[in-house]
Symmetry: C2
Subunit: 240 residues, 2 copies
DNA sequence: GGTCTTTAGAGAGCAGTGCTCTCGCTTGTA
DNA sequence: TACAAGCGAGAGCACTGCTCTCTAAAGACC
């Protein structure tokens, strides 16, 4: 029953946008609004359930896209497949995506169970990082420095991945945050590498959000190709 | 008068969140709700005015932060100053920031005058790119290739900026989009360089949005330091 | 000064919203 | 058969955006 309500609510969400009307949902189900309160304590409760489902749906999609690459050593292919899955899901479910990654509703605080579901998508990327690091493909000490011209003092930490001219110097606090995060999601991965992984993670959602939220209007028309190019760039950044 | 209404609305926005109530604004002004319709045709109209003001306020802040760097050749310092200004404004005006860069309201389409105001912030970055390119500091042909290990075929276009191991190969459509954008905002800047500039632009807002929208909760605590580190990384990416 | 027109705001009202309450009806169980 | 639990209906409260009509003030013109 609750799942039927959520299904109708999801449909309303996709057609009407973010301001979900409980009464309209009830009307569509041939019920009266007060009946819905048997199943959800409030409208926020319904939204929370939808958010939870959304994180899980996105996570499943991304996990499946990663798992579809049978050669697990093809880290770059796995990453691109996962990234495309994120964009594909977002384009197919824009309202739900906005619910997950858009502006949070005013006084709304995400319940703890949503954060676990929210971690599924970054966990896929973390697994790719972890696999690459374990296989010695990432963060190897064999990189040579580029001779790229630098304007100020060199911020580059030596011996780190792909794009070796990049600043991977971390302050103690940031390093502590990243180390803690690595322990939780990608054990063994050094904080510098996780930093680059998080950069790709954030940038991936940045590009998708800009596309969905209209920031690319009149700027980028070839959205899919642009996204692919950016994700290739990110793969290079990590050294996949 | 309209400015007084907007001021009260802004205040409401900052305390109550995104769902702005026209009646509450009117109440605070000692008026009745219908009186507001003399000045704004609808609630969306008021929001549009606030969005326009927001883009301009952010743009002014960023422009001032860039202009504060007297040595115009210090591109990296200018970029970091502008980026910090974006984050600072966003943290000081979270509700307005969400209005600008969060999920768009359902049926809302941004009027053309807002896009001009929205372009002020990226224009600052474009000017930095333009200055650097004109001075020959960016995108010079003197870069050496790194020997970074690459998993697949090499996507790197030779002779491009700072982080030379990165994929800057553009498909014709993306190249066309970027060339058109460059003509509008950074004349003369090659599309590959503008692509890197847009990457930093998107990533900057990606990091700020993740911070403001709660995606960093329980992950990154040292927000300011993390932001700085990421912006340094982006500066390296462009080759500032 | 006396009209006359524009303008600002008040007030009532409509349709819609989230949410609470009470009251019946149905269904499963002892 | 009696009881209890759960489910939905209906009315109602306070709120919202928005439209309409009406009144009072202010400015323009002769």
């Amino acid at each position: 029953m609750t799942s039927e309500i959520k299904a109708v609510a999801r449909q309303h969400l996709s057609t009407e946008g973010a301001n979900l009307s409980l009464r309209a949902v009830a009307r569509d189900m041939g019920m009266v609004s007060s009946a819905l309160y048997r199943y959800f304590a409030s409208r926020d409760d319904l939204l929370t359930a939808l958010i939870l489902d959304g994180y899980n749906a996105l996570g499943e999609t991304v996990e499946a896209a990663d798992a579809a690459i049978t050669d697990r050593s093809q880290l770059r292919t796995r990453w691109l497949s996962a990234a495309r899955a994120v964009r594909g899901w977002a384009l197919a479910n824009p309202a739900e995506y906005a619910l997950l990654y858009g502006s949070p509703v005013p006084g709304y605080a995400a319940p703890p169970d949503t954060v676990a579901a929210a971690a599924r998508t970054p966990a896929v990327l973390a697994a790719i990082l972890s696999d690459g690091f374990a296989a010695g493909v990432l963060a190897g000490p064999t990189m040579g420095e580029t001779h790229a011209r630098r304007s100020a003092a060199d911020h580059t930490a030596p011996g780190l991945p792909g794009a070796s001219a990049l600043s991977t110097r971390l302050t103690p606090d940031v390093r502590a945050d990243l180390t803690r995060a690595a322990n939780g999601i990608a054990p063994g991965v050094p904080p510098e590498l996780l930093m680059l992984g998080m950069t790709t993670w954030v940038h991936m959602f940045g590009v998708v959000s800009f596309e969905l939220f209209g920031q690319f209007n009149n700027v980028i028309d070839a959205r899919a190709e642009y996204f692919d190019q950016q994700m290739e760039l990110m793969a290079d950044l990590i050294g996949l």
